[in-house]
């Protein structure tokens, strides 16, 4: 069973992700996002881009992570299929930090299925009840 699935939303796309660790939640959220754009199985993991972002809490970190991926796709032509993610506390104090190695292709001229405008806070959430679950909506 896929760690992520999509749910109905009138004009946009809703995503639900489940995983054993918080890091996998972020990784699978990234895969869910790129799966809307391209068939991940067709991508080669030939190049790597490193991302580091900070947020006040896990939910804002998730939204910022998704928007970072949208920026890298839209501005720099990146398509990612794999993510190695670490999430820990902010070095400077409260809040959280994400560091990720994102692997995929860049400006490879593939046929793409969907454009994404932004990740939104609408119904966004991360919960833990024995395993991790996340939910968010992408404005398309």
């Amino acid at each position: 069973m896929s760690p992520f699935s999509y749910f109905d939303h009138t004009a946009d796309v809703g995503v639900e992700v489940s995983a054993d660790t918080l890091e996998e939640i972020f990784a699978e959220s990234g895969r869910a996002l790129f799966s809307l754009i391209v068939d991940l199985e067709e991508l080669d993991s030939v190049e790597t881009e490193c991302v580091e972002i900070e947020g006040d809490d896990e939910v804002s970190l998730l939204i910022d992570w998704l928007n970072e991926l949208i920026f890298l796709f839209d501005a720099r032509g990146w398509l990612f299929r794999e993510f190695k993610v670490a999430v820990d506390g902010r070095p400077a104090g409260s809040g959280v930090r994400l560091r990720a190695e994102c692997r995929g292709e860049r400006e490879s001229g593939r046929q793409l299925e969907m454009g994404l405008k932004s990740a939104s806070y609408h119904e966004a959430g991360i919960t833990y009840q024995g395993s991790w679950r996340a939910r968010f909506i992408l404005d398309v």
């Binding site: 999509y6 749910f7 109905d8 939303h9 009138t10 004009a11 796309v13 754009i37 928007n67 920026f71 796709f73 839209d74 501005a75 720099r76 032509g77 046929q111 793409l112 299925e113 969907m114 454009g115 405008k117 932004s118 939104s120 806070y121 609408h122 404005d139 398309v140």
Partner: protein, 479 residues
């Protein structure tokens, strides 16, 4: 949710429906549309918007309303120009997403047997699609000029004519744009995206006039006969605008506690209009709006070139701008409230300005008839051109609807269409579609949208605008 029906086309969301409402909500709809409006949570959003500090009149919803980011899509909210707030969610991610209508000297018979060929030519010449750059790659200084000058920059560079500008809302340029308040990220996204259609529900359509409701007004716009060919372009500020909105939502999220603003929904993040945060947002929003005006101006020239290539130079030169409207924007305007003239910030998100006859902002040729209001429908049915009516100034801060509004999610639309070959089905109706994204067509099928004729009946009946012509698609280019 209990609504109070005021008359055939107006429904009130009473104060108190959600805690903290400062004004009621006002929904323009008929009974049938109200049923579909109730099926998502957009009415809750109408009520939430009514809690914004400084909101005046009502939190307004057009009949094509559906759920959006904080504000519903199809919403209008005017806040006090001195003490009110500005909220990026009230404009939307695609700043100055809008529509431009062009008239041509051609009629339907000129396209007989040539429509598929024309579709292929436009598909080749008009940059569209996901992740595709355009024909322009702007250096930083040029991009700054685009932000400051809008469509005027494009005309100076040879995309179109000076006469085009008078028929664009705000002359194709908002004052107050400041590139200094636009992030390097937005610039990076915008540098290769000027002159592109984008994807999703954006399109370029070649259409024919199939009904004329007001001959005099139509003639004034250059629409003279049934069967005349027109072209409609629907696109906005692309990744540039999306990034500006995202950047300032973060800024506003930080600002709300600083200014002691309590909101029922985080996505209504806002700041007082006179605050540094809001002023920077308005300057960046204007820059993005100008990018979108320039975008549609570039596309206009390439449309002229494609038609000239197929039908001759005289035809290309005969393609004229009817009007260009923004349907995701905030404007500082003067409106009468309780008999007093007040400066307000009108947020229109999925709503179109609809100024009536006589308004000073209209070009001379439209002062007698009112501002053209361009309302695209879905790709299988029709679009409308209307003109603003005095009722819009009384009831909706000079605003009307923007389109058909979705009734089915993308997933549901794809499921409903199943294995239907939409391209073939539309071709059997003499509509030639060219689309880059394989799955997109089903998501954008007519079945995904409300019937725009029903939406127009409401806004016409409520006195917001008056129908002038109906247009039917012949060629549809999608990203």
């Amino acid at each position: 949710m209990t609504l109070k029906q005021l008359d055939e086309y107006r429904w009130q969301v009473p104060v108190g429906t959600v805690p903290g409402m400062r004004v009621p909500g006002l929904v323009f709809a008929d009974a049938a549309l109200m049923e579909s409006i109730r099926s998502d949570r957009s009415l809750e959003q109408v009520a939430n918007v009514a809690t914004l500090p400084g909101i005046l009149g009502s939190s307004i919803a057009m009949p094509d309303i559906h759920w959006g980011y904080g504000f519903p899509v199809g919403g209008v909210a005017a806040t006090d120009g001195r003490d009110g707030v500005v909220s990026p969610g009230g404009i939307g991610f695609d700043i100055n997403c809008g529509v431009r209508l062009l008239s041509t000297p051609l009629v339907e018979s000129d396209l007989r047997g040539k429509a598929p060929d024309l579709a292929d030519a436009l598909y080749r010449d008009i940059p569209a699609g996901v992740g595709r750059g355009g024909r322009l790659n702007l250096r930083a200084r040029e991009l700054s000029k685009v932000m400051e000058q809008g469509a005027g920059w494009a005309v100076k560079e040879g995309y179109g004519r000076p006469a085009d500008l008078r028929r664009l809302e705000s002359g194709g340029r908002l004052n107050g744009a400041d590139p200094e308040h636009v992030s390097p990220r937005a610039r990076e996204r915008g540098s290769r995206q000027l002159g592109t259609l984008g994807s999703g529900n954006h399109f370029l359509e070649v259409q024919k006039v199939d009904e004329i409701y007001d001959r005099r007004a139509a003639k004034q716009m250059g629409i003279n006969e049934i069967g005349q060919i027109t072209i409609l372009i629907h696109t906005g500020s692309r990744g540039f605008g999306h990034q500006v909105c995202q950047d300032y939502l973060k800024v506003m999220n930080g600002a709300i506690s600083r200014y002691g603003i309590n909101l029922p929904d985080r996505q209504l993040a806002c700041a007082p209009i006179k605050s540094p945060e809001a002023q920077r947002y308005l300057a960046a929003m204007a820059a993005a709006a100008n990018f979108a005006f320039a975008n549609r101006q570039c596309l206009t020239q390439w449309v002229r070139d494609t038609f000239a290539g197929r039908f001759g130079k005289r035809i290309g030169e005969g393609i004229t701008v009817v009007y260009d409207v923004a349907h995701n924007i905030a404007k500082i305007e003067t409106h009468q409230i309780d008999g007093v003239s007040r400066e307000v910030c009108v947020h229109r998100k999925g709503a179109t300005r609809a100024f009536p006859p006589g308004h000073l902002e209209l070009p001379e040729e439209y002062k007698a008839i009112g501002q053209p209001v361009l309302v695209p429908g879905d790709m299988g049915r029709y679009s409308y051109v209307a003109v603003g009516s005095p009722g819009a100034m009384e009831l909706s801060f000079g605003s009307s609807c923007h389109g058909a509004g979705r009734i089915r999610s993308r997933k549901a639309a794809k499921k409903l269409l199943g294995r239907v070959d939409l391209t073939k089905r539309l071709e059997s109706e003499n509509i030639y579609v060219r689309a880059r994204a394989r799955g997109l067509l089903a998501e954008e099928a007519p079945e995904a949208y409300k019937d725009v004729a029903q939406v127009m009946r409401v806004v016409d009946g409520a006195g917001l605008c008056r129908n002038v012509v109906r247009l039917r698609p012949m060629v549809v280019i999608k990203g």
